[in-house]
Amino acid sequence: MDYFATVLISSLSSASILLIATLGLAVVFGLMGVINLAHGEFIMMGAYSALTATQLGIPFILAIPVAVLVTMVFGALVEIIIIRRLYGRLFDTMLATWGLSLALYQGAVLIFGSVSPGIGMPQINFNVGDYTLAAYPIFMILVAAVMLAGIYALLTRTVYGMKARAAIQVPDMARAIGIDSARTNTLTFAIGCGLAGFAGAILLPIVPATPSMGFAFVIKAFLTVVIAGPVTLAGSALAAIGVGTGASVVASFMTSVAGDLFFFILTVVLLRLYPLGVSAKWRIKL
């Protein structure tokens, strides 16, 4: 019984970690139709920004906004220099962002070397019966929920949010009523990258900063977005919690390999049943 409870809690935390790593990708893909294969490297950039900030003496909690800012600015530059020229050309953007991911990866190797000191997790833990759980990963459940609510509010309650949705849903009409869709898209891409940076920073205590850390996230994050389908936020949340929790529970009762297998097989099955994503027929838009 205790075992089952700890498995459930820690599986939910695994799913939340997946969701945190996915949301930036989901926003960019959902609102702009751009698949950013360099998403993992933006996470990596966020992690290194936060790490560098803490090494300069900034407390970790303040290093997170620094990481978000760095990745947002870099994301905006990438949008202006590369992405903007490739709108509507899905495969070209994939190729370009993949190239960018290789360049960023090797850039990180050159700048930071292949090993950097980690910052460690807060040594706080609590007991469920005979079992001990680290507090920080569990805290990620809350972080994911807040992140989700924040993005929802940003897209529905702010002028930018309305513009962003208008610019992508009916670009001609949006331009006709005076929305600068180019600038809105730059901001949307920057926000997506900022979310990736946030993920890298907040997960830094769990996943140490290394040049190759992006690879670990990008495949599962990408699949989560594909399973989710057109309803960006609710779809991604459901997909991450469903597939992520399921995989983690399987890993706990069987082996980690079985957990991974479950993740990928479930993805195949879901896409066979819902070729356009699980949210294809939903009425809500976010």
Partner: protein, 402 residues
């Protein structure tokens, strides 16, 4: 098209001509991963080779001539190893090859050097079992490290063992040795989890470890993601009641990556730690740091390459020839060498090194304190399976099951 072709031919001709005239002394080839994901190891391996050659050349080289190094970057890609091994042998006419990190890279190179009949040195800790007349292994094998580590672990922590290992041959074969030496030392494996290299969240593994209640965990994390396991293990508060030991922790400077609170108390066993105290190591570290700086600690793979180059040079000078037959005969004559990791001697039958195995404990300053030194440990499994003096035609990769 024709002009381009002839231009290329002319260029190739000039290149080969100029190389023909530039012959200095004995040529050796080096193929390591200087870029890409494996360069944590590859750069240091290559640095060690350059440093060893410099030292040998300063002392007169081999056969009275300086050694010339032809170096290639394998870019952490397997296909580059075969490509550059062929190039180095066919075009550059090297007389010995120093290359490879992963077992797959070694297995890709082995048929090529065997066909070309060139001595090949593989310098990395690995799962063990390589057995080939032209191949010489200077890293420590899984059975070599595990034999001492499990004995020490059972007597220090208690008999119950949990295994956390990567899900490929290094992990599974190492796990086999844990089982084997657990039984021999009165221990028992109470659970094991083999993990894909892409897993970054270890909550399920930590639950299973707690359910199995082991006295200590044998953790063999490979790659950046699996280093996170150590962090999560510590944060869950398990380090206080469960020991954690490893044969590869530190081999890629993981002790620098993990935080002091997670790294303190982790037990590692290896053929070399930078903290090893002897005169040779003091000289070696000084020389290394003068050339490459003090930023990153020296890994065991670097010392394995250093030893390989020195053993080869000793053999060439002893044979008074760089011809393959003569060099292999000299290498099989019971060579030994005062290395940074203590005295090493080449076992003529298995082509592996008898060398010290150190057990060290991670400290709070991203470093190690040496706890125990086991001297002159043989590569147990390889010495048992592989006799290249009696059977020079052997070309096998033995696994414990076979």
């Amino acid at each position: 098209m024709k002009t381009i072709l002839s231009g290329v031919c002319a260029l190739a001709l000039t290149a080969s001509l100029s190389m023909g005239t530039a012959v200095a002394g004995t040529k050796i080839g080096a193929i390591f991963d200087l870029t890409g994901g494996l360069n944590i190891y590859g750069i240091q391996q290559n640095n060690a080779l350059q440093l060893a050659v410099e030292e040998i050349n300063a002392n007169g080289g081999v056969l009275g001539e300086p050694i010339e190094v032809i170096s290639y970057d394998a870019q952490s890609e397997l296909s580059k190893y075969t490509q550059f091994a062929n190039t180095a042998i066919l075009r550059d006419k090297i007389t010995a090859l120093f290359a490879g990190l992963t077992s797959s890279s070694r297995e890709a190179i082995r048929p090529i050097v065997r066909k070309a009949n060139i001595p090949y040195f593989y310098s990395s800790l690995y799962e063990g079992g390589a057995c080939d007349k032209v191949t010489f292994v200077t890293g420590s094998s899984a059975s070599q490290q595990m034999s001492k580590l499990i004995e020490w672990g059972v007597s220090t922590y208690g008999p119950k063992i949990y295994i956390m290992a990567p899900d490929y041959n290094f992990g599974t074969i190492s796990a086999h040795w844990v089982h084997e030496y657990a039984t021999r030392n009165g221990g028992e494996v109470v659970g094991e989890d083999f993990l894909p290299l892409t897993v970054s969240d270890y909550a399920p593994t930590l639950q299973k470890i707690q359910a199995a209640k082991p006295d200590f965990v044998v953790a063999l994390p490979v790659g950046a993601n699996q280093t996170g396991f150590l962090e999560q293990f510590a944060a869950a508060g398990l380090k206080d009641r469960i020991g954690i030991v490893s044969t590869n922790y530190g081999s890629g400077n993981q002790q620098v990556v993990v935080s002091p609170q997670a790294g303190k108390g982790i037990i590692a066993s290896a053929g070399y730690f930078m903290e090893v105290a002897n005169d040779q190591n003091a000289k070696f570290v000084k020389k290394w740091q003068a050339k490459y700086g003090t930023d990153t600690p020296i890994v065991s793979g670097a010392v394995d390459v250093w030893n390989a180059v020195h053993l080869w040079a000793l053999a060439v000078n002893k044979a008074n020839s760089s011809e393959t037959e003569a060099v292999i005969k000299a290498l099989e004559s019971g060579l030994s060498f005062d290395a940074p990791n203590g005295k090493v001697s080449l076992d003529s039958k298995s082509h592996h090194l008898n060398q010290n195995i150190y057990i060290a404990e991670g400290n709070a300053d991203h470093g190690f304190d040496i706890l125990v030194t086991f001297t002159d440990v043989p590569a147990v499994f390889e010495a048992d399976k592989c006799d290249l003096v009696k059977d020079p035609g052997l070309a096998e990769h033995f696994t414990p099951e076979s």
